[in-house]
């Protein structure tokens, strides 16, 4: 179990990490999700012991490891860049942490072959990393992290430099690898979809703060504040400022739409309403869908789905619709909002009442 207690990091006058608490259990996969410079790498460096926290303490299995150097901790790290020993074969690359640990030759051989098999590297064991594709190089780095048998494995955007399709395949393999060892895995990414595909737990980061931590799908469905909701949305979240008055959400005193049941208890007054693009549709598919008149901007088609950018009362929204819909720009159309999934946030950005579990 890794515990961060009130850990912070400042460099000069700059705050890299605001005081934060985080508890990661053994055998879990934990995603750090946030945009570039949100503090993901800083937090990982603190966890690894590469940097010393400016305040707070770090505990591993109850033991205070705050001042302990990285060499004295049992940590493995994989980076965005493919880092391998260029002069060594893939076999020796994978074997290197065990050689340093002084394992016997038979154990090394067994472990290397097991890891190579797991990561589909067996045919390339005799090659040097520079003669491999990017995906194979990164798999070599991953294999090295696995055989190290570390209790904490840190992966800093490990798939960012790989081809899209390869990413998809490795993403599927990774949770399987994680499940096999009892280590704590921490995985940093900028992509919400990657977090969702990996599952596990997610901590959302924004400007050096951990805004929320919990099971990935929970954080996605029930973000605690607008910032978290925004961080955890791809395609981007649709947001609109409204005023609640009785059973209606008003915009400039014109009814935008009716307040759905799960938000009925909300106090009257200004609120920020947000929802995901796939909760807008061209046809009233869901019961209780609310008709919304919009003006179309542009359509993007991905084959299975279309992203239709629309303008509602001066606010730009994206609608994600199944199938192919190449709608002419600058046309007035009616679309339908599935209000059961609306999220509401108060003026301070905190979630007022998220969608109840029954509707999700």
């Amino acid at each position: 179990m890794l515990e961060l207690k009130n850990v912070s990091k400042t460099v000069g006058a700059e705050v890299h990490i605001h005081p934060c608490d985080l508890v990661l259990q053994r055998g879990t996969l934990n995603v750090l999700l946030g945009p570039t410079l949100s503090g993901k790498t800083s937090l990982m460096r603190l966890m690894a012991g590469l940097d010393k926290p400016s305040g707070g303490s770090i505990h591993f299995d109850g033991k205070d490891v705050t001042g302990l150097r990285v060499q004295e901790r049992n940590v493995a790290m994989v980076y965005q860049q493919f880092i391998n020993y260029p002069a060594l074969s893939v076999y020796e690359n994978i074997a290197s942490p065990m050689r340093i640990a002084g394992k016997d030759a038979a154990t090394i051989d067994r472990e290397v072959r097991k890891a190579a098999d797991l990561l589909k590297l067996t045919p390339y064991l005799e090659r040097t990393p520079l003669n491999l594709s990017g995906g194979q190089q990164q798999r070599t780095a991953l294999a090295r992290a696995i055989v190290k048998n570390a209790s904490l494995v840190l992966l800093d955007e490990p798939l960012a430099n790989l081809d899209y399709k390869l990413r998809e395949e490795l993403r599927e393999e990774l949770p399987r690898l994680f499940a096999a060892s009892g280590a704590i895995f921490v995985y940093a990414t900028t992509e919400p979809s990657e977090a969702l595909l990996l599952g596990g737990n997610t901590a959302t980061l924004s400007q050096g703060r951990i805004t929320q931590f919990g099971p990935t799908i929970e954080v996605y469905r029930r973000p605690v504040d607008l910032n978290t909701a925004r961080t955890f949305a791809d395609p981007p979240l649709n947001i609109i400022e409204l005023t609640k008055r009785g059973g209606q959400f008003l915009r400039q005193d014109v009814e935008a739409f009716a307040v759905p049941a799960h938000l009925a208890h909300m106090a009257d007054g200004p609120a920020t309403i947000a929802f995901h693009p796939h909760h807008l549709a061209l046809a009233p598919a869901a019961p209780g869908a609310q008709r919304v008149p919009v003006r179309t901007l542009i359509s993007e088609i991905t084959g299975s789905e279309s992203f239709i950018h629309v303008d509602f009362a001066g606010v730009r929204w994206v609608m994600l619709e199944h199938g192919i819909h190449d709608i002419e720009p600058d046309r007035a159309i009616d679309i339908y909002l599935d209000t059961r999934h609306l999220m509401a946030f108060g003026p301070d950005g905190a979630a007022i009442a998220a969608a109840p579990a029954a509707a999700a």
Binding site: V11, G49, L50, D51, K52, G67, R69, V70
Partner: protein, 288 residues
């Protein structure tokens, strides 16, 4: 980025600290010690205060030598830096030409100072030297033993021949680190050859040029061996630089006090000028 505190690090740098202490710090202290005392031999010393400094700073001999040094360094920089950049720009970026050029460029750097001096001394002699004799035959009046101008030209040409390669190699290293995409983008943007140099190559060479200028300045300001071997500081005092004067004073005349005071002044001047160069050349970074 702040690193974990590690006491072992001190043990690792200890040998260097000891070496620096014995090779730089302690001799420097000795020099400071000499500069404020007088001696008539027999290891007897008398307190002299700042007298030696006053004497040095009021001696025309010192100021003449200093001026010669400054002129020499500025001429050297004005020739070697642009020439070095020019050669580096025209060196091949790939293929068999690269190692060939690099070896050719490194050759002068491998030759010891005094050998360079000797080579040029012989090369330039009017009676037996190839260069001197050829120039003589062409009717050009060239004799570094008699003409101060010829002596200066010889020393400058020697230094340029010896040290331009260093500038070339540094600039070349800077140039090859520029990704191809920059050149492609510049072509697409319709940039002229000059624009490519001005906006891509020069900014990317900024760092190495700083090193090149500092190294060449400090080195040329301390020039000793070449003029000593070739001209011995002459004809007259025309190529007597500070370093030569210093040695004459300390070893030739055994004036340890004034020599020590002069070395300190000399040292401070180099420090000051290097700082000026550094500040001027890095001021662009601070704005960004």
């Amino acid at each position: 980025m702040e690193k974990t505190w590690n006491n072992k690090a001190w043990f690792l740098v200890l040998p260097v600290l000891v070496l620096v202490a014995f090779s730089a710090a302690i001799p420097l202290m000795t020099v400071v010690n000499y500069s404020v005392q007088d001696t008539f031999g027999n290891n007897q010393f008398f307190w002299a205060g700042t007298d030696w400094f006053t004497e040095i700073l009021h001696s025309p001999r010192f100021w003449d030598a200093l001026l010669r040094n400054l002129i020499f360094s500025l001429v050297i920089l004005a020739i070697e830096i642009p020439l070095g950049i020019l050669i580096a720009l025209n060196m091949p970026k790939k293929g068999l030409g690269v190692p060939v050029c690099l070896v050719l460029m490194a050759l002068p750097l491998l030759i010891p100072w005094n050998v360079v001096g000797t080579i040029w001394q012989v090369f330039g002699r009017v009676d037996i030297g190839l260069l001197g004799h050829t120039l003589e035959a062409l009717g050009i009046d060239y004799n570094y033993v008699q003409s101060p101008t010829a002596a200066w030209i010889t020393v400058i040409v020697m230094d340029v021949w010896h040290w331009t390669s260093l500038v070339v190699l540094l600039c070349y290293a800077g140039l090859v680190s520029i990704p191809d995409a920059y050149y492609q983008a510049a072509k697409i943007d319709g940039a002229s050859r000059w624009s490519v140099f001005r906006y891509i190559q020069l900014p990317k060479m900024n760092r190495v040029l700083l090193i090149a200028v500092l190294l060449r300045f400090m080195d040329s300001f301390m020039i000793y061996t070449e003029p000593f071997v070739v001209t011995g500081g002459g004809p007259g005092n025309s190529t007597t630089f500070l370093s030569i004067d210093l040695v004459k004073m300390a070893v030739g005349q055994f004036d340890l006090g004034p020599a020590a005071a002069m070395s300190i002044v000399y040292f401070l001047i180099i420090l000051l000028l290097s700082w000026v160069f550094y500040t001027v050349m890095t001021s662009g970074d601070a704005q960004a």
